[in-house]
């Protein structure tokens, strides 16, 4: 038998290495993976100075060669006057990524594959931000695949740790870049200066070795110190890791150790530990809940020690405490700023304090003393403690510096430690080290959390940037957008390039032979009109109705044909899919699509021809659907009405034209449709909605009004619901696995328990919850003839017991789960607002494919991709709603500034030391604490079973749930935080 030994003449032999790694599978098996590694010499350095790499740069399947990224003349600094390329190692990115995102510096950066892979393992959010930077055109970030390039590939030596190997790979790449560029410049004979290749690292050992190898290398702080604006930039370096190695004294351990990963995994598999998302109560920062799959009800996490450094939003692993330690959820309001003010941020370093401050301990003791009643509020709940965090969901936080947290006024570059109080009450104070404390007082500040060690009572973070003075409109609006993760940067050039060349001059082609007319029905002769809020510019939808000879009606809903303009997978589509939705603030709209489309070319403006996607039904007099059809079309809207105008026109008997008659038909049918929906069990829920009237010029708030609902509001709504339901059915029929739908799950019975009990105890109503119809009917019965608002109040409270509706991909759920509980519809989707919602755009594409107007893009066949889209738009949708609400809240506050108003309010929730009052006129709810009633804080008896708080002592009042009260609304500026708040005071109970 011939030997099978490989011949030495193998041309590949020198370029092949193999990578052996061990991985463990989900089922717990360990696999050894052997992978060949093909090393190559055609991976370009991507410097525009280099002519060598240009000649053998690789092309993709379409022959496209990626343009070179690194500048010909990179910026220089004092230390590197001839210009420089930066090569950060992994810890430089971990410690200072905010620096790399600056506009004032950090251009021309080489990201090594070794670093990128390591970063991905260490922190996915940071990794994603680096990927974002590599896509930015102006930052010049280049990913160099050093592990695939023959000259820069480094074999791990025997006994070498992976970290050391990776550091060596970074140094090797730095050295190669230097030699390669010099060589390249020499051969091209260009009289250009070779830029320095600067390694950035915070690892002392790596820096030392680099210097020994005669490479340019410096730490982040060394490098930044050489830049202008050093003070501001130095603050942005991660506080916790920076001092690695230098911190020798280990403080007292304030928090328990986390379990090891394997112990947590074993525990979860065995069912003794549970995993879920940690949520903090907005009323009590020391009380959190974790919903875990094993139980119907959430587990309670009480106190700092039990929450063990988890921050709201983190994915945590919890252990249920022994039954003796179970507690009832708090009936008390606990706010961090009132308990822990006047703490000195610097003293922490003394490492002598306990996790629970004396004041907190007292607050908790009172909790325990509380009477245990029979109702749900008082009963001890399964309580748990956090034993580990599997995923941190830290983001950037906006807040303000607590000016009382530091006493020493210092100047110069000396760092001092201050506390940042986040706007989000569920987030603990964050300790910051800063050199510019004084300049930051009174500002809105953006920060990042870096770590939370066992020795530190509060998490440690670093400064990112200042948004401006507190209470200025610019700073507060930006803060609100950041807090809700709304993408508000202007559309980049790549997106704008996707717009039609003709700009505002674009029009529907005159010739019917034009390609644009292919597959479109000419519906220009229909009397179509739109009905929207006053001043609406992005008109998504328009309607028409006309009688048919057989006595039935033809009804049409026409939706802006956005998918004609936004093609799948181009830059504009990508941007829209990330934004997910348009965000409406009181004085500002953050568009999902560029203005040109949203307010002009797609918008179904009156008197001009527009492309539309039409849903046409034949409907009988009794609002029975005879048939439905879908088509791309061209329409010409005859009029754009506001709800009020439309209502007036319909009500005006003198108007007898066809357009008005059509609207009357629509109104008549919409009432019947609504009736049917209600009979099927649709819920009529309420959420407080107010409108802020602003002065048009300055957009300063003038007045606040509750939204008024007209019949025409409901007219439009009914037909939009009908269109959405029809399209959902059609798309599901065509794409059973991948239709994008919207569902609203039935709330678990336990969600209603508390409200049901409250209604029963206080008013003797029974709330039946076995179906949405039962809920609807019992809500209808909850009325108080003397108090018309009572019913609305109950509906508002019921709304808060509901699940939130969500987008999903049809293949991920079984058909019964598709149901939309609130609308009592078997199937539902969003189709009618493609200008402002990405989900609708996807539904348009699917419908276009379903009616064979065009082929479906391959990305919409992928369930995984659609799930990803759904996940994102669900989050964006929720954020947009919250941002909108926060904006109204801010403006209501501004409208009330300097004014004192007495208003009617209703008690929504009673605690043992305060209560929540809802003020319908302004749609605001506010807390009134016992200590607000009188000083010193009056005595009180809290009857948890009856939801009554009896205050005695200096002031005698009885406050109970659902009670109507009069409150005085004013705004106060809290002295030590400089934050303006709406304050409610009890005037009459």
């Amino acid at each position: 038998m011939t030997s099978l030994k490989r011949s030495t003449a193998d041309p590949y032999a020198t370029n092949i290495s193999s990578k052996v790694f061990v991985r463990s599978t989900k089922s717990g098996k360990v696999q050894k993976i052997v992978r060949e590694l093909y090393l190559r010499q055609d991976i370009p350095c991507s410097s525009r100075l280099c002519s060598i790499c240009l000649t053998n740069a690789p092309a993709d399947a379409n022959g496209f060669i990626a343009p070179f990224i690194l500048s010909e003349k990179p910026a220089g600094t004092g230390n590197f006057p001839t210009g420089h390329y930066l090569v950060p190692d992994t810890n430089a990115l971990l410690n200072g990524l905010d620096l790399f995102e600056q506009k004032t510096g950090f251009y021309d950066v080489i990201i090594l594959q070794t670093v990128l892979e390591e970063l991905r393992n260490r922190s996915l959010p940071l990794y994603n931000r680096v990927i974002g930077l590599t896509k930015s055109e102006d930052k010049h970030f280049y990913v160099f695949f050093n592990d695939f390039r023959l000259e820069t590939y480094v074999v791990r030596e025997h006994g070498e740790t992976i970290n050391d190997r990776n550091d060596r790979a970074v140094r090797r790449a730095v050295s190669w870049y230097g030699e390669h560029l010099q060589h390249s410049l020499k051969t091209s004979n260009k009289a250009k200066q070779c830029p320095a290749i600067v390694m950035l690292s915070d690892d002392k050992d790596n820096l030392r070795k680099a210097k020994a190898e005669k490479l340019s290398a410096c730490s982040l702080s060394e490098y930044v110190s050489g830049l202008e604006d050093a003070n501001r930039l130095l603050d942005m370096i991660n506080a916790s890791r920076q001092e690695q190695g230098s911190r020798t004294t280990i403080g007292q351990q304030l928090y328990p150790d986390y379990f090891s990963l394997s112990r947590m995994m074993t525990g979860i598999r065995a069912g003794t530990l549970h995993q879920g998302i940690f949520n903090v109560s907005p009323y009590n920062y020391l009380e959190g809940t974790v919903h875990v799959p094993a139980f119907d009800k959430s587990l309670l996490i009480l106190g700092r020690e039990n929450s063990n450094r988890a921050i709201s939003g983190d994915v945590v692993v919890v252990e249920v405490l022994p039954k003796a330690q179970w507690k009832a959820p708090s009936t008390k309001i606990i706010e961090e700023d009132t308990l822990n003010k006047n703490e000195n941020a610097e003293t922490e370093e003394g490492a002598t304090e306990a996790v629970v401050s004396e004041q907190e301990r007292r607050a908790l003791q009172e909790e325990v003393k509380k009477t245990h009643g029979n109702n749900i509020e008082g009963r001890p709940q399964p309580t748990a403690r956090v034993v580990g965090v599997t995923k941190r969901n830290w983001r950037q936080y906006v807040g303000h510096i607590d000016s009382s947290s530091t006493s020493v006024a210092t100047q110069g570059r000396r760092q001092q430690t201050v506390f940042l109080i986040p706007m989000d009450k569920r987030i603990p104070k964050i300790r910051l080290r800063t050199r510019q404390a004084e300049a930051l007082f009174g500002k809105r500040v953006l920060v990042t959390i870096d770590s939370w060690d066992q020795e530190s009572r509060y998490p440690i973070g670093h400064f990112v940037r200042s948004l401006g003075d507190l209470e200025t409109k610019g700073a507060e609006t930006e803060a609100l957008l950041l807090e809700h993760d709304v993408q508000y940067r202007p559309f980049p050039k790549g997106v704008l390039d996707c717009l039609p060349q003709e700009g505002h001059d674009w029009s529907v082609p005159a010739s019917l032979d034009d390609l644009g007319w292919k597959g479109r029905r000419d519906l220009r002769d229909l009397l179509v009109c739109s009905i929207d809020p006053v001043g609406c510019q992005d008109i998504d939808d328009a309607l028409h109705a006309r009688p048919l000879p057989n006595g039935n009606f033809e009804i049409g809903v026409h939706i802006a044909d956005v998918s004609h303009f936004v093609k799948p997978n181009n830059a504009m589509d990508a941007e829209a899919s990330i934004r997910g939705t348009t965000v409406y603030l009181v004085d500002k709209r953050i568009d999902m699509l560029p203005m040109l489309l949203g307010t002009d070319l797609c918008s179904l403006k009156p008197y001009v021809e527009r492309y539309a996607f039409s849903v046409l039904w034949e409907i009988s007099k009794d609002a029975e659907i005879i048939n439905s059809a879908f088509t791309k079309s061209v329409i010409r809207s005859r009029e754009a009405f506001s709800y009020e105008q439309a209502q007036l026109r319909i009500d005006d008997r003198a108007q007898k034209d066809d357009l008005t008659q059509g609207m009357r038909t629509l109104l008549m049918l919409s009432k019947k449709l609504k009736q049917k929906r209600m009979e099927a069990g649709a819920l009529n829920l309420a959420s407080p909605e107010v409108r802020v009237q602003t002065e048009s010029e300055t957009s300063d708030p003038v007045d606040v009004k509750t939204k008024e609902l007209l019949d025409t509001n409901s007219l439009v709504e009914e037909f939009m619901l009908l269109a959405n339901i029809s399209v959902a059915g059609k798309n599901y029929e065509a794409f059973p696995q991948t239709a994008l739908l919207r569902r609203h799950a039935a709330p678990p019975k336990s969600n209603f328990e508390e409200l049901a009990n409250q209604l029963k105890v206080k008013r003797g109503f029974s709330l039946r919850t076995e179906s949405s119809k039962a809920v609807a009917e019992s809500l209808d019965r909850c009325t108080d003839p003397k108090e018309p608002f009572f019913n609305t109040l109950v509906r508002i409270m019921a709304t808060r017991c509901m699940m939130s509706a969500e987008y999903f991909c049809s293949g991920t759920q079984s058909y019964p789960e598709f149901r939309h509980y609130g609308l009592a519809s078997e199937i539902y989707t969003h189709f009618t607002s493609p200008i402002r919602r990405y989900a609708d755009l996807v539904a348009h594409r699917q419908l276009a494919a379903a009616i064979e107007y065009e082929q479906l893009d391959i990305s919409l066949y992928s369930k995984a991709r659609l799930e990803e889209v759904c996940k994102n738009i669900n989050v964006r949708h929720r954020n947009a709603q919250m941002a909108g609400r926060a904006s109204i809240e801010y403006y209501v506050g501004q409208a009330l500034k300097g004014r004192v108003v007495d208003e009617e309010g209703f008690v929504m929730k009673v605690f043992s030391n305060g209560f929540v009052v809802f003020v319908p006129r302004f749609g605001i709810e506010g807390l009134i604490r016992l200590r607000d009633l009188a000083t010193p804080e009056p005595e009180s008896i809290f009857d948890a079973e009856e939801y009554v708080l009896r205050v005695s002592g200096s002031i005698k009042v009885k406050v109970e749930l659902f009670q109507k009260v009069v409150v005085r609304i004013s705004d106060v500026k809290e002295e030590f935080t400089g934050k303006r708040k709406i304050k409610l005071d009890l005037v009459k109970s």
Binding site: R35, I43, A66, E117, N569, S577, I858, R865, E868
Partner: protein
């Protein structure tokens, strides 16, 4: 953990996890006449996929099961049979001894083996001048020692070499390779860069597989084409082009191996003759 394929899009580098570009084969190493006892034999590696192939025949019809013999005697042409077995240690996880013995694992495994056997037999029935050997059989036996994707392609290539070694006349080489598509990026906003890929590895994670085998005069004829998953019709052309191109590269390499072997044989004959 290595970066996934979609990440490599962003640099436009389109490097795969093992450092290859979209249009590159793995290292292909082959030897011919590796087992003196067989009529023809070969050993072939495509990356970490390693196969041994032996050929016996053309010879008398063996007494197989059923009426095979009778049927064989009546036939004008030779029958090409293929037997494929896969070693228990070939994959990442050791295979359980299956009911069928010989190493085939579960039902799915056996079905895969059967499919490969049928494809090999059909391909070579078409290419071998079977009319030259009436009433006889050619048996191609393939042992897969190590499996890292593209095992059908590797088996076909190895069989070509072993048949040449056995001196069986053929119209041309049957050469094979796989081609596939990069998965459409699951990340939103990543764009729809679904590019063709040549020579797929095993366990690559979500690569669509399509299998193109080529052979015939001038190397342009496609005699076997197996699709392993659903692919959109407009992508097929691109994948086919990449596959055919890959087959040309494979053919050159196999041709080199055959010619080198030829020179060695001639050399030794000349030396023996000179003695």
């Amino acid at each position: 953990m290595p970066l996934d394929t979609s990440t490599y899009h962003l640099s436009h580098a389109l490097l795969r996890l093992d450092g290859r570009r979209w249009n590159e084969l793995r290292r292909l190493h082959a030897q011919i006449s590796t087992q003196a006892s067989a009529d023809g034999s070969s050993y072939l590696e495509m990356g970490n996929t390693k196969v041994i192939c032996t050929v016996s025949g053309p010879g008398e019809v063996r007494g197989g099961g059923g009426g095979g013999r009778k049927e064989g005697l009546e036939r004008e042409n030779a029958i090409v049979n293929a037997e494929v077995s896969i070693a228990g240690f070939s994959g990442v996880e050791r295979r359980k001894k299956g009911i069928g013995g010989g190493g085939g694992g579960g039902k799915g495994d056996r079905r895969t083996m059967e499919k490969i056997q049928n494809v090999i037999a059909a391909a070579f029935t078409d290419i071998v001048f079977t009319h030259l050997y009436p009433h006889s059989t050619i048996v191609i036996t393939v042992h897969i020692l190590s499996s890292d994707g593209s095992i059908l392609a590797a088996s076909l290539n190895a069989a070509t070499l072993a048949l040449i070694d056995a001196g069986v006349p053929m119209k041309d080489y049957v050469v094979a390779c796989t081609s596939g598509l990069t998965p459409p990026a699951a990340d939103i906003g990543e764009g729809d860069a679904s590019d063709p890929l040549l020579d797929l590895r095993g366990g690559g994670g979500g690569e669509l597989r399509f299998w193109g085998g080529g052979g015939g005069g001038g190397g342009e004829r496609v005699c076997v084409c197996v699709m392993e998953s659903r692919v959109r019709v407009e992508r097929v052309e691109g994948m086919l082009a990449v596959g055919v191109d890959g087959c040309k590269q494979v053919r050159e390499i196999l041709d080199g191996v055959v010619r080198a072997q030829g020179r060695r044989v001639v050399g030794s004959v000349v030396r023996q003759g000179g003695r």
